[in-house]
Amino acid sequence: MYQYFYELTNSTILSTIFVAVFPLVNVLLVALLGVYLERKVSARIQDRIGPNRVGPFGLFQTVADFIKMMQKEDAVSNEIDSRLYNIAPVLVFTGSFAAYAAIPFSSKLIGSEVEIGLFYILAISSIVVGGILMAGWASNNKYSLLGAMRSVAQIISYEIPTAIVVLSIVMLTGTLSLDIISQQQTAYFWNWNIFGGAEFEIAKFLLIPFMVIGFLIIFISTLAEVNRTPFDIPEAESELVAGYFTEYCGMKWAMFMLSEYGNMFAVSAIVSILFFGGYQSPFGYLGNSIGLEWLIPFEQAFWFLFKGWIFILIQMWLRWTLPRLRVDQLMSLCWKYLIPYAILNLIVIGIISLI
C-alpha cells in the first residue's frame, strides 16, 4: 500500500501519513464500538439492557463519553515526575499502534510488507511495558506502582508462551511474514492453520489437535498480555483503584483506554492470522465467482475485521464469565501450565512437520 501511495504522490512523508491513517481510523472505531459493545454485552450477560438513551440503541453513548472526556480538566498531582508522566500514555499508545504497521488487513491493505512482521510485532509491543512502568512510577502513587509492577510481571511472563506458539507456527509455515502466512491459508476454511494448514497429507490430520492446543495457549496468553479480565490484576478496580493509570484523567486516560482497545484488536488479528486464515474468506470469494477482481481486497478486509471482532466478542464474553485471578494463580498458570504445554506442543509440531 505504501508503494501505491508513493507512486501516486511521489512523497515519502505524505504516503507514510496515508498508510498510517487507515489503522488509526480502525483503532478509533474499535475503541468507539468496543466500549459500546463491552457495555452492551456485559449488560446482556447480567440480564440488563445497557446504554439505550443516547441515539438509536444507545449507539452514541461512547461519543457522549468522549465529548465529556475532552472537556475535563487535566487534574495533575503535585508530586509527579511530570516528564515521564506525560510521555507514558504516548508511549503506551505508540506501542499498541505500531503493531498495526505489519498487520495485513487484506492482500492490498498492508502498512508495511516487512518480511519479519511477526518478530516485529512481538518486539514492538514490548514498548508498552516501558510505558506502563513509567506511568506507574511517575504517578508517585502506591496503587499505580503496584499496578504497574503487576502489569509488567504479567506481560513479560506471558510473552514467553506467546512467542513459543508463534515459533511453532513459524516452524510450520517457514516464514515470519504475516502476509505470506495468510496467503498460505487461502481458498477454503479447511486450509486454515487450525485445521492443519493447506497441504493435504497425513500430517495435516495429525496436526489438528496440537493446533487447537496452540490456539488455546496463544489466546489465553494474549488475553493476559492486553490486561483483560480474568487477567486484569494490573487494573483490578476493587484492589488498586485503576492500577497504573489511577492518576491520569481526561485525554491522557483516554489514550490508555484507546491503546487497550487497540491492543485487543491487534491480538485478535494476530490470532486470526496465525490460526484462522487472517484475511482469507472461509468459502472462497464472491469477486472470483462473478469475475470482479477489484472486489476481492474489500471482501478480504471484511473477513479480516469480521474475524477480529469475533475474537473481541469472545474476549468480552470471557471477561463477564470469569473472576479475576490472584497474582500467584496468574504466575502458576503461566509458568507451570502454559509454558510446559507450549514447549511440548512445539516439539510435537516439529516432529509432525518432519513427516
Binding site: 454485552v41 449488560a43 446482556r44 450477560i45 447480567q46 440480564d47 440488563r48 439492557i49 488455546l216 464474553w317 470471557l318 463477564w320 464469565t321 470469569l322 498458570l333 501450565y337 504445554y341
Partner: protein, 185 residues
C-alpha cells in the same frame, strides 16, 4: 503428573461451563424496568403524598394534633350564624372558615397518623411519589381554598360580628343595671 493433567482438564472444562452459563444469559430477556416510561404498580395500601379534600374539611384541627412532626398547620375563623358553609359529603355541618391549611411535605414522615382521626375522611394518602422540587419552599403545600383577601375579610367580619355582639351584651347589661336600682326603689 495425574493431578497436573486433571488440573488442566478441570481448568478448561470449568471455563467452558461458565461460558455456557453466561451465553444462556446473553439471550434471556432483561429484568430492567425502564422507570420513567414504565412504572412498577404500587401496593394497595401504599403511603405517599398527602392530599386534603378541602370540600369536606371542617377545620377540626385533629390531623394537625395527631402529626408527630408538626408538619400540618391549620388556622380557622368562626363563621357568622348568617353564613351557610354547607355540609360535608358525610353530612356534617361545616362551621369554620379554614383560612390556612399548610402541609410541609418535606417534614412529613408518611406515618399516616393524621388520616385516622379525621372525622370526614378528607385527608388521605395518594399514590403520587414523584414530587421533587428545586426550592424547598415549593414543598409547603397550601390547601386552603380561601384567598388571603377572603381570609382577611372573614376575619374582619367575625371581629365586626363579635364587636357588635359585645356591644349588644354591654347594652343589655347596662339596661339591666339601669333596671336594678329601679327595682329597689
Amino acid at each position: 503428573m495425574r493431578e497436573y493433567l486433571q488440573n488442566t482438564w478441570l481448568g478448561i472444562y470449568t471455563v467452558l461451563v461458565g461460558m455456557k452459563v453466561t451465553f444462556k444469559h446473553l439471550f434471556t430477556p432483561s429484568v430492567t424496568i425502564q422507570y420513567p416510561e414504565v412504572k412498577v404498580p404500587l401496593p394497595e395500601r401504599v403511603r405517599n403524598r398527602l392530599y386534603v379534600n378541602m370540600d369536606d374539611c371542617i377545620g377540626c384541627d385533629q390531623c394537625s394534633r395527631a402529626c408527630p412532626v408538626s408538619c400540618i398547620e391549620i388556622e380557622t375563623v368562626k363563621s357568622l350564624p348568617t353564613e351557610d358553609l354547607g355540609l360535608t359529603s358525610n353530612g356534617k355541618k361545616k362551621a369554620l372558615w379554614v383560612t390556612k391549611f399548610d402541609i410541609d411535605i418535606a417534614k412529613c414522615c408518611f406515618c399516616q397518623l393524621c388520616v385516622f382521626p379525621c372525622p370526614t375522611d378528607c385527608i388521605y394518602m395518594t399514590n403520587v411519589y414523584e414530587y421533587s422540587e428545586f426550592e424547598r419552599d415549593n414543598l409547603i403545600y397550601k390547601f386552603a381554598t380561601l384567598t388571603s383577601e377572603e381570609a382577611v375579610e372573614k376575619k374582619a367580619n367575625l371581629e365586626k360580628f363579635n364587636a357588635e355582639k359585645e356591644a349588644q351584651k354591654a347594652a343589655a347589661a347596662k339596661a339591666k343595671e339601669e333596671q336594678k336600682p329601679a327595682d329597689k326603689e
